[in-house]
């Protein structure tokens, strides 16, 4: 595990003090807060956009007012001109109304526009329009006076003058001249006033002066005539002034204001349109900004939420998973790892502490269990050793008895020797049982996997028990109906036989009358497999229901009285059951008190190949027993009793021998003496049998080496073969077995 930095660990430890409930609550609160924050943020952005849009709308409305004002002033100027043409009161009223409308618009602008530059322009507009407005009333008065002095009065004076001239001037010629001057003056005056013929101004004045001079030359001093000429001159001057005043007002003052107004309003319009454009762009930018801000805020929240997920995963889920996996480790007796989360004080901390307690309990339990198993193993080993140690002297005893019986003894002595042999056999059986059981318990029992001739097996069993059953007055039936002509199976014939012998012996033992039967059924399965069902039925005492559970336990019989009545170690069934277990099976029992019992064993075995069967037949083919050999052997054995028993046998078979007390001695002897074979014990001091064989083979020794061992399991056989040994005989050494081995391995024989 990677160690976190210290501050992180400290921070972590602090975090780990907070309960998960609180953490989840905080998580929800944070999530909710983020949600609210995001909402507020978005709402603000939307409000901002809304404000923008509203301000844009109101500004564009204001802009349209400016556009209207621009139109208004041109319309007003047009009306001013139209008024100058006719002086019509309708036009004047229209002008006034239009101006008022425009002023209202400007007032509106003044209220609306707060921007300094715009407000400045509007202020200018206000000033100019107020100037302009003040002049509108003058327009009417000046027009009236202009009309009076340039049109009405001159007309009146002219007519008056015409009448007076024709009345006071006598001669036609003079009258015509004066009238010509008078009408000329009037004509030029009108040309000047109406047609704006500025040269006529001088002409009019000249004509009037000439008329005055003409009248003087005619000595017409009529005051009426003189005054009408003066009136004309005076009116003309007034007309000129009023005309000038009107022109100055319209042409210069109002037109100047209008021009300025147009210019300012135009500037205002341009500026506002520019601002409007800018605002539009700003709004677009703002909307873009707001959008981006919302996006960024979302992007900002994502890592927080990922962080939260990471936190909960790391702080809760992961630790829970780790605790679960440590539980599993504890259950498979792996106590290496610490329970994670022990330093926490939240719910996980509580769970971790419970796990830790579980760990220490399990650990103690495991130690106790190992202790117990160890004890059991020691016990088994002890028993196995004991049995072995007892068996060796027993072999010696029985071997000697066998030899004694072959010497001349009395009948009484022979009977005693038989008893000794029987007792010894019983003792050996018990010892072998104990050995088997301890081997089975300590897992040292191994099974052979060789072809089994089922007919032969049954023949042997029939042969074994027929006499015994007859002796007790019982019937013993053996039934075998092979399916599909199955004759061979593959398995450990010795162990199967052992189970069946046990079951049948028990059946005979616990049956007083009636019969004991063994039936075998085969059922062919797929892939070269066959199911063998062995059933042993008796009509004996039966087993009570409560005892059924006990009979397979070691050292127990159905009840203690059974032991007293029938004897036996009580190991048989226990060993049988264990052997069955090794063969992946089980012995079943069905029994009723007083009615008898049925033991069944069902085995799933392979069918051997043709080759295997041929090989098997060769190995077990019946050989003619040879009772005398012409050979010289080397016996390698450390135990004196065994040497004695063996050498007696060899003497009888006519085999000469040398003796070596250990493997080392054997090697040394072979250096200078030749033998036909070596009989080699396995367990010896100095150099054991296997090592010695290996050394001999290494040195090029070619003669057969035959192992002598009580350990006759497959692994032992394999070990012997790999050490270069050729064959073996079991201990205690039986005569027949020895003959069979020599028959196989020695070619020098005497018939």
């Amino acid at each position: 595990m990677v160690r976190a930095p210290k501050y992180l660990v400290m921070g972590k430890s602090l975090v780990n003090q907070i309960s998960i409930k609180l953490k989840i609550t905080i998580g929800f609160v944070i999530f909710f807060a983020l949600f609210i924050l995001q909402f507020l943020f978005s709402a603000r952005a939307i409000n901002r956009i809304d404000d923008r849009v509203n301000s844009l709308a109101s500004f564009s409305e204001t802009t349209s007012i400016v556009l209207q004002v621009n139109k208004d002033i041109s319309e007003i100027q047009r009306l001013v001109l139209a008024f100058g043409q006719t002086g019509g009161s309708g036009i004047y009223e229209n002008l006034e109304a239009r101006f008022k409308t425009m002023e209202k618009s400007i007032d509106l602008l003044q209220a609306e526009l707060k921007n300094e530059e715009l407000a400045g322009l509007v202020k200018e507009l206000v000033l100019v329009s107020s100037h302009y407005g003040k002049n509108i009333p003058s327009l009417r008065t000046l027009f009236k006076s202009k009309e009076l002095y340039t049109n009405e009065l001159p007309m009146e004076i002219y007519n008056k003058g015409e009448v007076l001239l024709s009345k006071h001037i006598k001669t036609k010629h003079e009258k015509e001249h004066a009238s010509g001057l008078w009408s000329g003056a009037f004509f030029h005056a009108m040309r000047f006033f109406v047609h704006k013929d500025y040269n006529s101004k001088k002409e009019a004045i000249l004509r009037a002066r000439d008329l005055r001079n003409h009248l003087s030359s005619l000595k017409v001093y009529n005051e009426e005539i003189r005054s009408v000429v003066r009136d004309f001159e005076d009116t003309f001057e007034k007309g000129t002034i009023s005309n000038r005043n009107y022109s100055a007002l319209v042409n210069v003052v109002m037109s100047g204001d209008a021009t300025e107004f147009t210019s300012v309003a135009g500037k205002l319009k341009d500026l506002m349109l520019r601002i409007l454009e800018a605002k539009k762009k700003e709004s677009q930018d703002e909307i873009g900004d707001s959008y981006r801000q919302i996006l960024i805020s979302l992007l900002f929240f994502i890592p927080i939420i990922i962080g939260m997920i990471f936190f909960y995963n790391n702080n809760i889920s992961k630790v829970l998973k780790e605790i679960t996996s440590t539980f599993n480790e504890f259950l498979s007796n792996d106590f290496q790892h610490e329970v994670p989360g022990l330093n926490r004080s939240d719910e996980i901390g509580v769970l971790a502490k419970a796990a830790d307690n579980f760990k220490s309990l399990s650990f103690r339990f495991q130690i106790e269990k190992e202790k117990a198993e160890n004890l059991a193993r020691i016990k088994s080993d002890f028993l196995a050793n004991m049995s072995h140690e007892i068996r060796t002297p027993m072999n010696g005893m029985l071997g000697m008895v066998s030899h004694i019986k072959e010497t001349p003894v009395t009948e009484e002595q022979s009977s005693m020797l038989d008893t000794i042999t029987s007792c010894g056999d019983s003792l050996l059986t018990i010892l072998n049982d104990i050995l088997d059981l301890s081997k089975a318990e300590s897992g040292k029992l191994e099974l052979e996997d060789r072809p089994i001739n089922l007919f032969k097996l049954l023949d042997e069993l029939k042969f074994l028990f027929q006499m015994k059953a007859k002796e007790k007055g019982l019937d013993f039936n053996c039934q075998f109906v092979p399916e599909d002509k199955i004759e061979f199976v593959k398995g450990d014939v010795t162990r199967i036989k052992q189970i069946l012998i046990n079951l049948i012996s028990n059946a005979i033992k616990f049956t007083e009358k009636g019969e004991v039967s063994l039936s075998v059924e085969t059922t062919l399965q797929e892939q070269g497999q066959v199911t063998l069902q062995f059933s042993v039925r008796d009509t004996g005492i039966g087993i009570s229901e409560e005892n059924l559970e006990l009979i397979f336990n070691a050292f127990s019989q159905s009840d203690s009285s059974t032991t007293r009545r029938f004897g036996g170690t009580g190991l048989g069934l226990s060993i049988s059951q264990k052997l069955a277990t090794l063969m992946n099976s089980e012995i079943f029992v069905d029994s009723h008190i007083g009615e008898g019992s049925l033991f069944t064993l069902s085995l799933k075995l392979k069918v051997p190949s043709e080759n295997e069967i041929i090989e098997f037949n060769r190995d077990t083919s019946v050989v003619e027993f040879i009772t005398a050999f012409d050979a010289h052997c080397l016996v390698v054995e450390d135990n004196e009793i065994n040497i004695k028993v063996l050498t007696k046998r060899l003497d009888k078979l006519g085999i000469t021998y040398d003796i070596a007390l250990n493997g080392q001695e054997a090697i040394e002897i072979t250096d200078y003496k030749k033998h036909d074979c070596i009989l080699m014990d396995l367990q010896m001091p100095v150099l054991d049998g296997l090592s010695a064989s290996r050394e001999l083979r290494k040195r090029g020794y070619t003669k057969p080496i035959i192992a002598m061992t009580a350990n006759v399991q497959q692994s032992d056989k394999d070990a012997c073969a790999s050490a270069g040994m050729d064959d073996f005989v079991g201990k205690p050494i039986k005569k027949d077995e020895l003959i069979a081995v020599f028959t196989r391995r020695l070619n020098k024989m005497v018939s």
């Binding site: 704006k196 002034i241 100055a248 210069v252």
Partner: protein
């Protein structure tokens, strides 16, 4: 100077605007003020109608004074058409012909003017000195005295059409941050006003009696046309001049036609124009606002004007007395010193000299470098120490007059042409 209350330019402008409103208000509601203190209604332009002067005059003369400041064209038109709307009229000598012909003003008795004898030769003879050239147009002496036949002329009759007081020579102002500064009387020229280089940045005054001469001097200086008598143009000359101006305007040459001094300042300060027809206070105020404006001294000569104070034909009695009091007060010294700070001269400088600091007199009248920073009428520094007045001394400037502001014979025609120009 110490007695003058300092007024910020802003409040000055605001007050000017207010006083317009007040004047109009009085007109529309002819409520009569108590007879004991007569109310004098003074109509004129921002040049002389200044709040500072009004307050001081009210204080010293114990009369009520109403100011009605307007644009030059407007004030002339109004005065000529409605003599009842004012008591005293303050503007320029080009108003006189119009007003006199309109019989809007009455003769002033010189013997009622206390400082008449102190008035120098310029308004009386048309020359500041014997060497000085007489400008074209209506020089003030031609229209000063009321002749026996009711016409105006140069012969002293004890009756005058106007009281000569404020006067100056005008030209155009230009922003030296935009236009390289020229040399007075040598490179500075009226032709600049029509120079292609400044197209779109030129302003003219919206007053035919003034603006037409600026334009005519510019056209002549540019070599576009000549005038037989620039002070009294023929209709053909006017047609030709306005054709030139019309084409220029259509090409966007003119940025605007201003109607009042504050407006001309606005044009300059906001850089609506780089050069324009200007009055001296406009130049001073623009400089005070931080825009470096030089008042050109054109080699072709100035357009000169003479300030006229006229009596309405309708004014009489107590108000007439008050009018004389006010006229006398104007020539009493202080007002002359006051308006000197705007660059204006007074008709009797010797009386105003004691009311000025030496530095002021030297700068404004003598054309010498300012020895200290000088303040304008608004109390703000308008002249930096070391600077010299554009165009030099009073005498030097008035010795170079090209034309006087004038109402020409063809004034009526020019009004039509002016209208055409404005609406082109």
């Amino acid at each position: 100077m110490g007695s003058v209350k300092k007024i910020e330019r802003r409040t000055f402008l605001k007050n000017s605007v207010k006083s317009v409103g007040a004047g109009i208000g009085l007109l529309s509601a002819p409520a009569i003020i108590a007879q004991k203190t007569p109310t004098l209604r003074v109509m004129g332009t921002h040049v002389t109608l200044q709040e500072e002067l009004r307050k001081l005059a009210i204080k010293e003369l114990k009369i009520n004074i109403e100011f009605q400041p307007m644009g030059s064209a407007a004030v002339l038109q109004k005065a000529a058409a409605e003599p009842g709307s004012f008591d005293l009229y303050e503007q320029w000598s080009d108003s006189i012909n119009v007003l006199w012909q309109a019989k809007a003003i009455q003769p002033i008795e010189t013997n009622r003017l206390e400082h008449w004898s102190e008035i120098n030769q310029l308004p009386k003879t048309g020359r500041i000195s014997k060497e000085a050239k007489i400008g074209a147009g209506d020089s003030p002496n031609k229209i000063l005295f009321v002749q026996k036949d009711g016409t105006l002329g140069g012969k002293d009759t004890g009756k005058i059409s106007f009281m000569p007081y404020v006067h100056n020579v005008d030209s155009f102002g230009y922003n030296t941050s935009k236009i390289p500064k020229g040399v007075a009387y040598e490179t500075e020229s009226w032709s600049w006003l029509l120079d292609e280089k400044y197209s779109g940045k030129v302003g003219l005054i919206n007053a035919p009696t003034i603006g037409i001469f600026d334009a005519a001097l510019a056209a002549q200086a540019s070599g576009l046309m000549t005038f037989k008598d620039i002070g009294n143009m023929t209709i053909q000359e006017i047609d030709k001049l306005f054709l030139i101006l019309k084409n220029k305007k259509q090409a966007g040459h003119f940025a605007g036609f201003w109607t009042s001094v504050p407006q001309s300042v606005e044009y300059m300060v906001k850089e609506r124009v780089w050069l324009e027809s200007m009055f001296s206070p406009g130049v001073t105020t623009s400089n005070g606002a931080g825009v470096p404006v030089t008042y050109a001294s054109p080699k072709e000569g100035y357009r000169a004007w003479y300030g006229v104070m006229c009596l309405s034909t309708k004014t009489s009695g107590h108000v007439l007395d008050a009018a004389y009091k006010y006229m006398n007060w104007w020539l009493s010294g202080y007002p002359g010193a006051f308006i000197a700070r705007q660059g204006y001269y007074i008709s009797n400088p010797s009386t105003s000299k004691p009311k000025m600091s030496e530095a002021e007199w030297n700068y404004w009248y003598e054309g010498k470098a300012a020895s200290i920073d000088l303040k304008g009428t608004d109390g703000r520094i308008s002249v930096k120490a070391g600077s010299v007045r554009d165009g030099g001394s009073y005498v030097k400037r008035f010795s170079n007059i090209a034309v006087w502001n004038t109402v020409m014979d063809n004034y009526d025609y020019s009004l039509d042409k002016w209208y055409e120009l404005l609406n082109t």
